[in-house]
């Protein structure tokens, strides 16, 4: 995600500036890596769950966890309340495990298949010693497995554990057993149950007591196979007084079929701990007619368990055919703080139903929600949020701001904020507004010599400024460019 976009892609000359002159920029990450993949047969059954577990040599507790989840999932029905529509998913027509054929564990990066390294190079995530990013440790996940993690040794010196989920199961089973499912229980929702049954890999982060993680941590998810579901699992634990900033990026090739991505992310912050989780999501969104693209059905939740703990979600959602995602905070510890900063951009036929839940349990807990939705083309962009103040959340405060920007008269912007309060000594404030890029504003900028497309891009990034400010620096610049690219030609 930290790739630098070639500047000519952003400043490509635009011949016309009229409405509907939609010349969408081609998706830059749509290539397929030609590599031998080991896949299991399509379909989901108890055997498949056992097979996945066996392939990964998992301890009994994890197999039990998967089986409980699978049985739960069988009893559940797919949610239908979100403002999204798609043909029924055939869960028996999906491959639940795919891995590039290579030896299970690599002693060093030099042994990783060069094709894979090349793939990540192309995605702007160089992994080799010479080229890798100097200030970010990266865990690269290709289809169902993690293929490499950089800077592991350096992090270990600080006591920080950063590795693939599978590795963590082998080396730190006690931590996994303790925290897995503690924030998102297996029965939480349909997709979380599915993930709990079949998850393949993902990242594990553990920051011990009092440690400030010396560098940003990042996981890069790449779907390569066309018929594979991706079900990764991320678990981040920050002990007392620890802090970490974590970045997540994702891309997928262009297929004209839809791929299911049902991830679960769990964050646990103990007393005074702080976790900042940033996502720039750029899954393949399907073509301009809505064919293909990723179904991104993700459950992300953080538990502010200890007093004064702090969890902050920042997301820039630009990809996926359908996004169904509500990164949430359970504010259990007194004086804990939850934040949600989101930019969701939909174009063409994309559908997004995204927002957050802030569940105030403890006293004087505070939360902030800033959501910016941009809808273009024929897309549909919904903010759905819940702010809940429980009876014990005395002195709790929430402020939410949800703004929508509409580009063109065929895009939909919906806002569904739910507020539930049972605590008089608290305050909730929600504001929402809708705007568009007005001709007057564009004219003003153009009359000062700013090119049309640049003026649009300035206004969009101005609209998103509050959220971009929350992103780590190099992510912010990338996000800005990404939006400009996605919107190219959609305004006039």
């Amino acid at each position: 995600m930290t790739a630098t976009t070639p500047s000519n892609a952003v400043n490509a000359p635009v011949a016309s500036t009229s409405v509907g002159d939609l010349v969408s920029q081609p998706y830059r990450y749509g290539f397929v890596t030609d590599i031998d993949t080991e896949k299991i047969a399509k379909g989901l059954s108890e055997e498949v769950v056992r097979l996945i577990s066996a392939k990964k040599n998992e301890p009994q507790f994890l197999l039990d966890f998967r089986l409980r989840a699978f049985r739960q999932w069988q009893r559940m029905t797919e949610p239908d309340w979100a403002a999204v529509g798609y043909p029924p998913i055939d869960y028996q027509d999906i491959v639940y495990y795919a891995a590039p054929k290579q030896q299970e564990k690599k002693a060093s990066l030099d042994e990783v298949d060069p094709k894979l390294l090349e793939t990540f190079d192309k995605l702007g995530i160089p992994l080799s010693e010479q080229k890798r990013l100097s200030n970010v440790a990266v865990d690269a996940v290709f289809d169902s497995v993690s293929i490499a993690t950089t800077y592991k040794e350096k992090l270990a010196e600080h006591g920080v554990i950063f590795c693939s989920f599978s590795e963590a199961v082998e080396e730190h089973p006690e931590l996994i057993e303790r925290y897995l499912g503690s924030v998102v229980p297996i029965a939480d929702n349909y997709f979380a149950a599915l993930n709990s049954a079949v998850f393949s890999d993902g990242s594990f982060v553990f920051i011990p007591k009092g440690v400030t993680c010396p560098m940003d941590l990042s996981t890069y998810f790449r779907i390569n196979s066309g018929d594979t579901g991706q079900f990764e699992r991320t678990l981040i634990v920050a002990e007392e007084g620890a802090s970490v900033s974590y970045l997540e990026g994702c891309t997928a090739p262009m297929f004209d079929t839809n791929q299911l991505h049902a991830a679960v992310v769990e964050l646990v912050a103990l007393d005074d701990a702080s976790i900042k989780y940033s996502t720039v999501q750029n899954w393949y969104a399907g073509d301009e007619n809505g064919k293909g693209g990723i179904y991104n059905f993700v459950t992300k939740r953080g538990l502010c368990k200890g007093p004064r703990s702090h969890i902050s979600w920042t997301q820039v959602e630009t990809g996926s055919s359908i996004t169904w995602k509500y990164p949430s905070c359970v504010l259990a510890g007194a004086d804990s703080v939850g934040e949600f900063y989101s930019v969701a951009l939909t174009n063409n036929c994309q559908q997004a139903d995204t927002g957050t839940k802030m569940v105030h349990v403890g006293e004087r807990t505070r939360s902030t929600i800033v959501s910016k939705g941009i809808s273009a083309g024929r897309s549909s962009n919904s903010y759905r949020g819940l702010v809940q103040l429980g009876p014990k959340a005395r002195g709790a405060r929430n402020y939410s701001q949800c703004d929508s920007m509409l580009i063109g008269d065929q895009a939909a912007a919906n806002t569904y904020p739910y507020i539930r309060s049972q605590q008089p000594q608290s305050a909730v404030e929600h504001e929402a507004s809708t705007c568009r890029i007005s001709e007057d504003q564009l004219f003003y900028l153009q009359s000062r010599g700013i090119a049309f497309e640049e003026a649009v891009s300035m206004m969009v990034s101005g609209f998103c400024r509050d959220v971009f400010n929350q992103l780590p620096l190099e992510f912010a610049a990338e996000a800005d460019k990404l939006l400009a690219l996605k919107l190219e030609g959609s305004v006039g």
């Binding site: 008269d409 569904y416 539930r420």
Partner: protein, 394 residues
């Protein structure tokens, strides 16, 4: 079948059995649809328990009381109250003569397939009914006093209003129940171009009464619809105003206040839809929630593609004053048009400390200050009511 489902089914059967003469299509629709379940998004937060606690066999029309005072202070006012049978309306002493176009004969409302529950229930009953067709540019002021004299009352007023171009109707209604009663007020209104309808409702009930009411209003271009309601008391009071600006370019103003105390559940589900450009909406919902009250608000605003240049503002403000009280509020904005101004806001809080301090720093003690602030909170809506009606709010 779950116990809840069984209970709903047998309650409905009991109601239908008590009204054997109800129109067949109403019976059928109600039977098919049944009473709503908590699973349904629109009924998620609303507990129907108080309705099920009423004995459907005991609910009967009860004779009405005559209005002791005029709600509009002066001028020619048509004043009607519930008659001795409890299913009709009759002129009150001092009423202006009944205007042309007014009929008090039983009338059927036009139930659509997806009619709301209050409309369906109202459709079962036989009155009191009021049909008013106002000629172009006609002006009428009308006040209704709907107060059954006893408990166990069934009150299903049905108002069918048809306002021709430029006609103007000012309507003030005081509806009150006296225990174990069910009130089902339903209004259907058509506003032609330039017509104006001002409605003021004061809805007061006893702690065992249930109100399920609403309206379906269609507005043509240049019409103005202003509705103000104040709800006080009741075990359950749910209102579902629905407004359709069929060509846009009309103005809708909604002002609702709930004074939600004791065990009351007050619910406002409003829906405003713009089917043409340049419509405006100004909505303010307020609830003062104290003791074990539960206030629910769901305000849907729909702005489809053809509703360009819509200007819609919605604000939900809750004053939450007790540890046992509860608020569920959900503004709902759905927009498919780019050149619009739509805003909504929601706040839930207790009395503002800064405001209270300001009053105290002027020598006003905490209790008096809090009372001033409570009254101030309500005043914004009360002043939309005719002053004499507002005075009835204790």
């Amino acid at each position: 079948m779950t116990a809840a489902l069984l209970q709903r089914g047998s309650w409905l059967e009991g109601l239908l059995a008590a009204h054997p003469t109800a129109p067949e299509n109403s019976r059928r629709q109600l039977q098919e649809q049944g009473l709503p379940q908590a699973r349904q998004e629109d009924w998620r937060f609303t507990d129907l328990g108080p309705l099920l606690a009423l004995d459907p066999a005991a609910l009967q029309p009860r004779p009405g009381l005559e209005s002791p005072l005029a709600l509009f202070p002066d001028g020619d006012v048509v004043r009607l109250h519930l008659d001795d049978r409890g299913i009709g309306l009759q002129p009150t002493v001092g009423s202006a003569p009944l205007p042309e176009g007014l009929s008090l004969e039983p009338a059927q409302s036009l139930l659509t397939e997806n009619a709301l529950l209050p409309a369906r229930l109202n459709g079962l009953m036989s009155g009191p009914c009021l049909q008013l067709s106002l000629a172009p540019a006609a002006r009428v002021r009308l006040e209704l006093w709907l107060a059954p004299a006893g408990a166990d009352a069934l009150l299903a007023p049905r108002l069918l209003l048809n306002l021709a171009e430029g006609a103007q109707l000012d309507l003030a209604v005081r509806l009150s129940c006296r225990g174990s009663s069910l009130a089902l007020p339903w209004v259907e209104a058509h506003l032609a171009a330039g017509a104006g309808l001002n409605e003021a409702w004061l809805l007061q009930g006893d702690a065992s009464d249930v109100l399920l009411g609403g309206c379906s209003v269609q507005q043509a271009q240049g019409s103005r619809y202003c509705r103000s309601s104040v709800v006080q008391g009741w075990a359950l009071a749910r209102q579902e105003p629905q407004v359709l600006q069929s060509q846009g370019a009309a103005h809708t103003q909604l002002r609702d206040l709930a004074i939600t105390t004791a065990q009351a559940v007050h619910d406002l589900h409003s829906r405003v839809r713009f089917e043409g450009p340049e419509g405006t909406l100004d909505q303010l919902q307020k609830a003062l929630v104290d003791e074990s009250g539960h206030s629910i608000f769901n305000g849907s605003v729909q702005v489809p593609q053809l509703a360009q240049r819509t200007d819609a503002a919605q604000l939900s403000r809750h004053l939450l004053l007790s540890e046992r009280a509860k608020v569920d509020t959900k503004p709902e904005l759905e927009i498919v048009a780019d050149d619009v101004r739509c805003t909504h806001g929601a706040t839930v809080s207790s009395l503002a400390d800064e405001e209270l301090f300001y009053l105290r720093s002027r020598g006003i003690d905490r209790a008096t200050g809090a009372e001033l602030l409570r009254r101030g909170f309500c005043a914004e809506i009360l002043r939309e009511l005719p002053p004499l009606l507002a005075q009835e709010v204790a």
